[in-house]
Amino acid sequence: MTNGSLYREVPPTAPAGAALKGGAGLPLLRTEGLCKHYPGVDALVDVDFELAPGEVHVLFGENGAGKSTLISILAGANQPTRGQVYANGEPATLANVREARARGISAVFQEFSLVPQLTVAENLFLGAEPTKHGLLDRGGEIKRAQELLERLGFPLRADRQVQYLSRAEQQMVEIAKAFRSDLSVLILDEPTASLTERETESLFALIAQAKARGVGIIYITHRIAEIRRIADRVTVLRDGRKVGMMDAAHADETTLIQMMSGRPISQIFPKVKYAPAEVVLRAERISTEDGSVRDVSIEVRSGEIVGIAGLVGCGKSEVARACYGLLPLAKGKVTFAGQDVRGATPRRMLDLGFSYLPPDRHKEGLVLSRSSVENVSLPALHLGAFSSGIFLKRRAERQTVSNLARELQLHPFDIDRDVGTFSGGNQQKVLIGKMLTREVKLFVFDEPTVGVDVSTRVSIYQLIAQLCEGGAAVLVISSDLPEILHLCNRAYVMFRGHVQVELQEGQITEDRVLSHFFERAA
């Protein structure tokens, strides 16, 4: 940092693609026959990968394909079972994160490595604290941190405690940490997962800036749109193996999804018959006490799938939570199944037939230290199916859950295992199983497919379609645009706590939805 340059000097090379095709420039990083074995699973099998200076190389693949394992090895956080990593053409051992950093390789993992109680500046210089006369140079630290943040264009104050920052801001600190020393390889693991559109834009601008200076970027994503937007090349992984590598220009949606899932998926989204019947949920001009929802009216009928789209933080989730009794209302009226339910508790809403699937299965959805049996039956435990008097009918409970697990194709099929030991997709199946143990009039799915693999995603969509055709009302709240476009019969688009527009069947197009994401329609 002392020379004021954020980037390692890179000899001027031809653009990434040309350099490699001609075989002239050396790749920044290359792996040969990389293998990683965990007990019972080969996370990586003979993976060859390379990264050229100034390119954005996307790693694409289902959950569990081995993406995170690959980058953790490249970042020195993990050691391969076999195979070799080359940095600038020489064999390199990256025994730990420090050694990788010394070679200019920095990673921003999904799990942040920040100390919440320390300030932004203290986190940035953790492990390399500037000193003066043998004591910490606290003033200098803050000043240098602030300079770094400004150079990167991050609107953050260096003296704030990290625990008070939003997830996007914490990610900025992680990225700034990578830029603290000379950088030649930047690794980003699903960086946009929790960013708003605007934050995503500024991340992309930063990536472009780094790229122009010759930094190589490894970028993990689930989102096909992002590949179009920023990638130069794409490597697709499946079950720990490299399925293929191609120029981003040739990476169309169908090819990518087929490579990733290993089978042709002609139809991800099922066609749902649109047969709206009576109104099940009606919210009339509701506002929440915390101001996250203002003057919103929506209704959902049985036999239809209604979507709510919008940016992260636009209040779309809060509308459902207010109806479910999780957020206190300041104004307005909520009617469910013909009853006024203002001020109702989740317990009462459940008993009336309102089932809510929370967006964060770890935080609010599942009791990770308990089994599938106990998790699935929890919302319905007091019903006759699972208990008589205060005593539980444990055999009936097991039978019900076992049947549900089979229907949902829980894998591994072991309903006594702690839910925390399942993969993300299978945890989501357990979470959905919780909604299916009792009679339900309205299913609310808040981000139903976050962090699940494609095959689970498809089966979730099919289930949603079945529920709707079985006569239930369905509300889908989603940040995943295709979900709104292809699955919903009707959709609301929200912005800053208001409903911007209601789109009827046949009107839900990408342009229409996106045009209401940002400002109030005039």
């Binding site: 007990p39 009791v367 929890l378 205060i390």
Partner: protein, 340 residues
């Protein structure tokens, strides 16, 4: 040849041992080791009298640990169990001696009255804990630490620090030294309570709710569980069990004492932890907690009968606890390695 066979056999045993260790944890193994060790150190140790004695000595801790476990499963702990014992003991003794002084011919009237008063006073400590934790969201540490002081203070204030005498001797005779089929009354009470708590935790909705609230309180709330009532109940149940232990201890000592439970918070938490009850909540099995309490009873008794100095004993208990935690961590890693 023979050597090779023996080696293979040894390896087989080792693997078996590992499997047992992963399956049942460190506690049963520790218990067996302790029993074997002490039976070598003292002939008396395995005699029927001594075993009955160990069971009786452990019964009080067992009952309190059962209550402690209920609270720990909800991701809390109760530091006021010692004061609950003290309050119960002192108030029940005061009530008994008071009533007995007025009605010398009706000892069972005094006993009944004393039991009701003592139990109610002990339970009230748990009710206040429960209200603080569930309604006011005070952290369990602060709430129960505070009540530990308040309860101890009340017990001291009521007795001016002196033992309360004048308990009808029928009380001590029946619930202290009395017995049935060779086992003392507190052992039978502990057995009944063990079964009751086992049923509660594994076979009722309430038990299920304790685990769910301790494992993830938000998920429980969203699933329609009344989390406040659940938390409140946990502290109330813990105090109720502790009060029963307090009554039994009073009967045993034939006096009401304010300082009968000073080591109980630590011991009961230790018994739970060594039994695999997580400090983070959401896990724990009732039979193991009983084994945990028994284990500490065995160690204490074994060291007594084999003449280990009482100063050393305190240290040994601490070391065992740390060892158990280390072994448990090792087991977790081993089980991750041996999975599929």
């Amino acid at each position: 040849m023979a050597e090779r066979v023996m080696e293979r056999q040894a390896q087989g045993y080792e693997q078996k041992l590992q499997q047992i260790f992963v399956a049942v944890g460190v506690l049963p193994i520790l218990l067996v080791v302790a029993v074997v060790l002490f039976s070598f150190m003292s002939d008396y140790f395995l005699s029927f009298n001594n075993i009955a004695n160990v069971l009786r000595q452990s019964s009080y801790l067992t009952i309190v640990a059962l209550g402690q476990m209920v609270v720990m499963v909800t991701a809390g702990f109760d530091l006021s169990v010692g004061s609950t014992l003290a309050v119960t003991s002192v108030t029940s003794a005061l009530a008994m001696s008071g009533i007995a002084a007025g009605n010398p011919d009706a000892p069972w009237l005094a006993i009944g009255g004393g039991v009701v008063v003592g139990f109610a006073c002990g339970l009230s400590v748990g009710i206040i804990n429960g209200l603080g934790v569930a309604l006011l969201s005070v952290s369990p540490f602060i709430m129960t630490l505070g009540m530990a002081s308040v309860g101890f203070c009340a017990a001291l204030y009521l007795t001016a620090g002196m033992p309360v005498r004048g308990i009808p001797y029928e009380f001590a005779d029946t619930f202290g030294s009395g017995g049935f089929l060779g086992l003392k009354a507190p052992v039978w009470v502990a057995l009944v309570l063990f079964i009751a708590v086992y049923l509660l935790m594994t076979w009722t909705r309430f038990g299920r709710h304790f685990y769910a609230v301790g494992g993830n309180i938000k998920a429980a709330a969203l699933s329609g569980v009344n989390t406040r009532r659940t938390l409140f109940l946990a502290y109330a149940i813990c105090a109720a069990l502790t009060s029963i232990a307090g009554l039994l201890l009073t009967a045993r000592m034939e006096t009401g004492e304010a300082n009968i439970g000073t080591s109980m918070p630590l011991q009961s938490i230790a018994a739970c932890v060594i039994a695999g009850v997580s400090l983070r909540g959401g896990t724990g099995k009732v039979p193991y907690v009983v084994l945990g309490a028994l284990f500490f009873g065995v160690v204490e008794n074994g060291m007594n009968v084999s003449g280990v100095s009482s100063y050393l004993q305190i240290g040994v208990t601490g070391l065992i606890l740390i060892f158990a935690a280390v072994a448990d961590e090792f087991r977790r890693r081993l089980s991750a390695r041996t999975k599929d």
